[in-house]
Symmetry: C2
Subunit: 206 residues, 2 copies
Amino acid sequence: MKNEPTKRELKKQELKENLLQAAKNRIKNNGLTSLRARDITTDAGCALGGLYTAYDDIDNLVLHVNSITLNALGTELKAIAANHKEPVERLIELARGYLKFACDNHNLWSALFDHKMAEGVAVPEWHLAEHAMLFEQIAMPLAQLNPELHEAELTTLTRSIFAAVHGIVSISLQDRFIAVPRKELDTQLTQFVEFLIKGFEASRQQ
Amino acid sequence: MKNEPTKRELKKQELKENLLQAAKNRIKNNGLTSLRARDITTDAGCALGGLYTAYDDIDNLVLHVNSITLNALGTELKAIAANHKEPVERLIELARGYLKFACDNHNLWSALFDHKMAEGVAVPEWHLAEHAMLFEQIAMPLAQLNPELHEAELTTLTRSIFAAVHGIVSISLQDRFIAVPRKELDTQLTQFVEFLIKGFEASRQQ
DNA sequence: CTTTAATTTTGAACATTGTTCATTTATTAC
DNA sequence: GTAATAAATGAACAATGTTCAAAATTAAAG
């Protein structure tokens, strides 16, 4: 016996959704740093205070936008995994897919890592769990590539590879360093992952 | 015929230095995000407006703090290079040195990459140039390892290796992901760089 | 359908910031 | 010693996230 959603509950849900989409679009178009409570509520068609009846604060709202982004990224990576069964090829394509996603969704992707919780506040469990998806996609082909890897080794190797690929994509998209043309970057990243896997295999069979 | 520095110039220099040290200590102890103009000027012993007679704005002051940090990092890396002549060993020790610096100077090091210029304002030339030092330290042993590398290949490989090592250090020190004990991280990073070099050599001599 | 109670929405007010600028103070030049 | 110049001051301003008493809306009761 589930209760019918009341008119109040429907409106509340609608408000949350409007705010979420407004925040997402603002971040997408103008980046996280210029996100303003007043802009969001204007776009969402509610009063300034409305934001605080739907979400704890702006940080919390950004967390929900990041959740959407992370799930979109997950969907793309899973599709790539499904299309490339051979482990080495899959690892390379996952890296390329990560680069593509970061380029195509620059501001949303940056918000994923630029956003900092307030002093002393931890990232909530449910959002940490969403990050795990990234690692799973990498761990699967790695385990296939070397079934004798211990759980602990697999975990650390997975994180290292993710971090390395993320680092390359991240540095290349920052204006602190000289920008590299997208096409060239793609080639370099592919080559880099190939090196990495070769090095990994070489040190295994010795 | 150089002019004696006047009393005015001396005081101005002293003020700049006091503000710089105050900002540096604040960042070191509390991180970039809680840096406040009022705190800095109180610590430096001047009025709020004084900050704006010495520096354009807070961004500019942070840039100068980052410059100090970058030079401190440079000094450590150069010392490491001087103590390890063998190229593979040197690359590994540089990576370990980078990790050590990031751990020992967490907040100052984070500020190096967390700090964003205002919308549309570019990072000044003089500060971009300081970043080049990081790359030089990596490029030298790489060139020694393979003298036939073309300039362009050397540049891209250098940046990839820096970015990868930076990524691993960076991800490991974020609270978004599960923290890894320092000692373990050191081992993993070493192993990772070894893989990378092995992979690089393997694909060269084929 | 009215009336009352509960809930949500509102936006003015507040607190905290970075930055500016007229005024005051200190330094230099004559 | 006095006038000109430069620097330091801190009150005032603008931009921002957040709160909360009042108004508006929705649900429940009669």
